[in-house]
């Protein structure tokens, strides 16, 4: 039996070598994906986001405020506009993400204690840029407010610490666990890249089985396995699993070791999860082909599944905030379990038992092909390829 498997594996190696699409989808494009995301998000946090100013007051006080705003790492004051309308137009054109509106008489109102009001507008369509600039603008307004209060209190002869306590009696002491920089590279690359690596596996697995039919090699293949579908599949998948594993571990080595993404969970969950991700994705691909032994249908279903899993993994929008039905559906996506295990065991460093249910689900995905082995055998021996 082992000899048969190795035989088929050797044949598979020849097939993979002969078809450049394997080289592309197993190695080149996954590497491209890793490079793309880690370099695109290389900054970690968006910096120097363009912000506009509508300063109708134009006094030393307001100019000081604007200078302080420009000093923030995340914002850069790129333009001054004479009306709010012009600023809005610039925002629509995508030139700025937010603007600060200082009406005439602000400084005068401050001096005479009339509580003047400034406003800031930020673009809610580009969410990350909008919320980042909003945070800075809010800080600058609060600081502006505090500066006035501070002057007044100094006038009354209060000490520095008294003033700080007066201005902010309750202070928020924020702990951003395991990602204290709010690094988006850590956040997004850790969920998007494995999703794409799994996407290639999803597609390539039914592709490699289906092309046996398409190019009329199916009978030869089954013969080599003595018409035993388990041996046939095992032999065929073995070299692919190896390559996928190498690529996946290469990705993990790159992000956890070279880029030093936080991984307090240590090496074991990383290794286990890599193995599980590859195997469950392959198993899912085999299962899809077994259900619908047509190259086109199984690949279509796999690609739709893979694309949906980016949403249902719950990395960007949390699953618990979705409709109850969708919450249930999310269990059917291997990437969802991948992400759960990643965040519990690797990112937050809890023991593997905390995510036991997700490990079990991953195992269940790996068992799936057993149910369709007979179907695959029948397809290989009886079906003809229909384009």
């Amino acid at each position: 039996m082992i000899r048969k498997i190795l035989h088929i594996a050797a044949r598979e190696c020849r097939l993979m070598y002969g078809n450049t699409i394997y080289l592309f989808c197993m190695v080149l494009l996954p590497v491209f994906t890793v490079v793309f995301f880690t370099s695109l998000l290389g900054d970690g946090q968006p910096t120097e986001l363009p912000v506009g100013i509508v300063d109708l007051d134009n006094t030393a006080t307001t100019r000081n405020m604007i200078r302080n705003l420009d000093g923030f790492q995340t914002t850069r004051v790129v333009a001054h506009y004479s009306t709010a309308n012009e600023a809005r137009l610039a925002m629509q054109k995508g030139e700025i993400y937010a603007f600060l509106y200082i009406p005439k008489g602000t400084t005068e109102g401050l001096m005479s204690s009339k509580q003047p009001k400034v406003s800031f507008y930020y673009n809610g369509v580009v969410m990350l840029a909008g919320s980042t600039t909003m945070r800075d603008l809010k800080t600058i307004c609060t600081l502006g407010s505090a500066a006035v209060g501070k002057t007044k209190l100094e006038m009354l002869g209060k000490t520095e610490s008294e003033i700080m306590t007066f201005l902010q009696p309750i202070k928020i002491d924020l702990h951003m666990l395991n990602n204290p920089w709010a690094n988006y590279n850590v956040y997004l690359s850790a969920s998007m890249i494995p999703g794409l690596l799994m996407l290639f596996i999803y597609l390539l697995t039914p592709y490699s089985i289906g092309t046996e039919l398409k190019f009329g090699r199916a009978k030869e293949w089954m013969e080599m396995a003595g018409n035993n579908p388990l041996i046939a599949i095992a032999g065929k998948m073995l070299p692919q699993t190896m390559v996928h594993l190498i690529v996946f571990y290469g990705f993990e080595f790159y992000v956890y070791h070279i880029l030093q993404f936080p991984h307090p969970g240590g090496i074991w969950p990383i290794l286990f999860l890599g193995l599980m991700a590859v195997l469950s994705a392959q198993a899912f691909g085999i299962f899809c082909f077994g259900l619908m032994p047509s190259l086109r249908m199984s690949m279509s279903v796999c690609s739709l599944w893979a694309m949906l899993s980016f949403s249902l993994a719950g990395a960007t929008f949390p699953v618990f905030a979705m409709d109850t039905f969708i919450q249930g559906v999310s269990w059917l996506f291997p990437l969802r379990h991948y992400y759960q295990i990643y965040q519990i065991c690797i990112f937050n460093g809890f023991g593997m038992e905390y995510a036991w249910i997700n490990w079990v689900c991953m195992l269940c995905f790996m068992i799936l092909p057993v149910f369709v082995l007979r179907n695959i055998r029948r397809a290989m021996l009886e079906y003809k390829y229909i384009p």
Binding site: V118, F120, G124, G149, Y187, R296, T316
Partner: protein, 398 residues
């Protein structure tokens, strides 16, 4: 003169025949049908359903209150009463709360130290610890923002109490605590909804990706069926370049004119996303977008040898293209190299233009750079398509 008339007539005739053949092919071929009809119709609905709730509300948090005082309870009560945070557990220690985080029962912890009220009463600064699970940015933001809002509300109460010595009237107290008032205005997406921000971009990308997949599949089939593995068949004498390219493009354009209307007008209405584009502007932008996508697809389809290969190459680009548009990662922070790469794809400009028109209510004149870029792409990809088709025709007639 008559000769010319005959030729024009023949050209139109050929064009129509090629159009009809392609149309028949699209309807007969299940694979093409899936990507041309089923995916554009069903996928947006599915996505919209996933993001239907738009915002994250009532994020569960645990509280570790070691102070048990009126003020600490007030802080907790105010957090619990906010729309974004829900206090689900009270723990006696941080270790206990950490355990809850491991089981994903809570996504954050509020920690009130034992000297919280004493410090405040003594006129010193007290701190509240906020611990957030950073694997979900939206829950982190919800918890942190709530804690900030509650603390600043309580701060001004305390300030008013403390300043009653120096202030004479109530108005004076208000001004002392907040000499400069400010207002924050989120525009174009007033609810800060996640779906409202991301889905319009996804809709526009779906147009391009399904077109690439459908055209690629149909070209792959043609290659597999035709002799010599060429893209165009030799059987007809209708070998005029523009007839073939024009006839096929017309077929795709007609199908996608309907689908684009559905994706850009109907779907946003159903799920009540912000749509404030005027019909004229939308038409103006989507016309070059569709054309550039079609010619881009036809150009790429020449590289496809087997029909299934197109799926392997195209599907994964969807997510990468989405990131290149600048919807999730701001455009101003995309490295120059990737900016350049993104200009190759119609979706980059299509998405940016569509967001400006539909979500931000700009006119066609505000999207001038995108509009121009789409027309340039249309021309370039049209010429490229003509060249590769000419090569194919030459090869077929040999």
């Amino acid at each position: 003169m008559k000769n010319l008339w005959m030729r024009v007539k023949e050209a139109i005739n050929d064009l129509a025949t090629i159009w009809a053949d392609e149309m028949k092919m699209c309807i007969k071929d299940e694979g093409v049908l899936i990507f041309f009809i089923l995916v554009p119709l069903a996928y947006p609905l599915l996505y919209s359903w996933i993001y239907n709730n738009e915002v994250v509300r009532e994020v569960p948090v645990a509280v570790v209150d070691l102070n048990h005082s009126t003020l600490s309870r007030e802080f907790i009560r105010k957090c619990d009463a906010s729309p974004d945070v829900n206090v689900t557990y009270h723990c006696n220690s941080l270790a206990e709360a950490r355990e809850l985080m491991g089981r994903q029962e809570v996504y954050g912890v509020l920690y009130l130290p034992s000297d919280f009220e004493q410090l405040l009463n003594r006129g010193e600064q007290a701190s509240v610890g906020v611990y957030c699970d950073m694997s979900l940015m939206l829950t982190y933001k919800a918890i942190y923002m709530t804690a900030m809002t509650v603390s600043s509300a309580m701060n001004s109460d305390i300030q008013i109490q403390n300043s009653s010595l120096t202030a004479t009237t109530q108005r004076d107290e208000e001004i002392t605590t907040k000499p400069l008032d400010f207002e924050e205005v989120p525009i174009f997406n007033p609810t800060s909804g996640y779906g409202n921000a991301v889905l319009p971009a996804v809709l526009v990308i779906i147009i391009q990706q399904t077109l690439l997949l459908g055209i690629g599949l149909s070209a792959g089939t043609a290659r597999e069926k035709n002799r010599f593995k060429s893209l165009v068949s030799v059987k007809e004498h209708k070998n005029g370049l523009f007839r073939i390219v024009g006839g096929k493009a017309l077929c795709y354009f007609m199908i996608y004119a309907v689908l684009t209307a559905y994706l850009t007008l109907v779907v946003p209405k159903i799920f009540s996303f912000t749509t404030i584009a005027s019909g004229r502007d939308l038409l103006g932008l989507m016309f070059p977008y569709l054309l550039s996508c079609i010619f881009f697809g036809m150009f790429l389809s020449c590289l496809i040898r087997y029909r299934e290969n197109v799926m392997l190459i195209v599907v994964f680009t969807s997510l990468i293209l989405l990131f290149m548009t600048g919807v999730s990662w701001p455009e101003s922070n995309i490295p120059g190299f990737w900016q350049g790469v993104s200009w190759l794809f119609p979706s980059t400009f299509g998405v940016r233009g569509f967001l400006t028109l539909s979500s931000m209510g700009g006119g066609l004149e505000t999207v001038e750079p995108e509009y121009a870029a789409l027309w340039i792409q249309t021309v370039v990809y049209f010429l490229a398509t003509c060249i590769v088709y000419q090569v194919q025709i030459n090869r077929a007639s040999k």
